[in-house]
């Protein structure tokens, strides 16, 4: 059981790493698509978010942390969201000469 657990803990990071490399290749390949500015931005940021989540959850071991660690992350993320949404609710309606 112990040896099994050890190989498991070795295998998971390598699997996650392989996933990160695949997503990086995908990011480069999909950036060639002609989907307009917002489309390209949406694809690139979605893939980056998935990669960041993998790093946070598996490499930074959020999967083994208690609930409070995840709540902290949620609060940080929501704060960022509010800052970006409020900024663009202003900038999008400005008339820039």
């Amino acid at each position: 059981m112990n040896t099994h657990e050890q190989t498991q803990s070795f295998r998971l990071p390598i699997l996650v790493f392989a996933g990160l490399i695949v997503l990086t290749v995908l990011t480069v390949l999909l950036s060639g698509l002609d989907v307009g500015n917002m489309g390209a931005l949406l694809i690139a940021m979605s893939l980056a978010s998935i990669k960041a989540s993998l790093v946070l959850y598996y490499f930074m071991h959020l999967n083994h942390e208690p609930l409070i660690f995840k709540l902290f992350l949620g609060v940080a993320f929501l704060t960022l969201l509010v800052i970006f949404v409020l900024t663009f609710s202003d900038y999008s309606f400005r008339v820039i000469a």
């Binding site: 990086t24 950036s31 940021m45 490499f59 902290f72 800052i83 970006f84 663009f88 900038y91 820039i96």
Partner: protein, 219 residues
């Protein structure tokens, strides 16, 4: 009297220390978030210039550096894993590989920056151009790069520069951890310092995961 009879034990809360470290990481995240916000606003107001300027960055170099940082994150995870299992030697080797990968990232980055310096794209100001440091990218008759491109390169240098500074700090930290591991003060029972060093290193990786497509790909 009873206090003397029971001397105060040194209490160490590993989970609390880690939670506190995560709080520090969020302050780092918000430092970069401010830069990303400025990028987002200027990109939306100078879209064409941002696309033109982004084409001058080498996607291949950016991709290679992305793979280097992702690999260094993996070796960091494996190093901590090895330390927690008591394999000190493996942990040290893996940490050395992580340091080497961080150094490789910086070397590649410095070549990239060097090429931009040669094209006088660093902190371009009207004053510098008047002194004869105009960029060869300018068409004759133009006094200065369009303002949107100046903003792009300015943000590029500030954001990748701040990121590189974090790589340097992470590298120094890892060297210190390596030294303490040799001395034995970081070991299987007390892996906390390596663990926090790893968290810091992974955050720097997360920042790069967003920098890469925004500067090298979305052109």
């Amino acid at each position: 009297m009873s206090e003397l009879a029971h001397p105060i034990e040194h209490h160490h809360d590993e989970e609390g220390t880690r939670l506190g470290f995560w709080l520090f990481l969020y302050t780092e995240l918000f430092l970069f978030a401010a830069f990303f916000l400025v990028y987002a606003v200027y990109r939306s107001s100078h879209l064409e210039d941002f696309k033109l300027a982004a084409e001058s960055l080498n996607t291949g170099i950016g991709a290679v550096n992305t793979v280097i940082l992702l690999t260094s994150s993996l070796t960091m995870v494996l190093s901590l894993d090895a330390l927690k299992k008591g394999a000190i030697k493996a942990a040290k080797v893996l940490l050395m590989v992580t340091i080497a990968l961080g150094a490789a990232f910086l070397v590649i980055k410095s070549f990239e920056w060097g090429a931009k310096f040669e094209h006088h794209l660093f902190l371009q100001t009207a004053k510098g151009i008047a002194a004869g440091h105009g960029s060869p990218l300018l068409t004759p008759g133009e006094e200065m790069l369009p303002v949107g491109q100046v903003l792009f390169y300015g943000l590029y240098f500030i954001m990748t520069g701040t990121h590189a500074l974090h790589i340097i700090i992470g590298g120094i930290w890892m060297l210190v951890v390596l030294f303490w591991m040799s001395k034995g003060s970081i070991n299987q029972e007390k892996p906390g310092v390596l663990e926090r060093c790893g968290l810091y290193w992974h955050l720097v990786d997360v920042i790069w995961i967003f920098l890469f497509p925004l500067y090298y790909l979305v052109a």
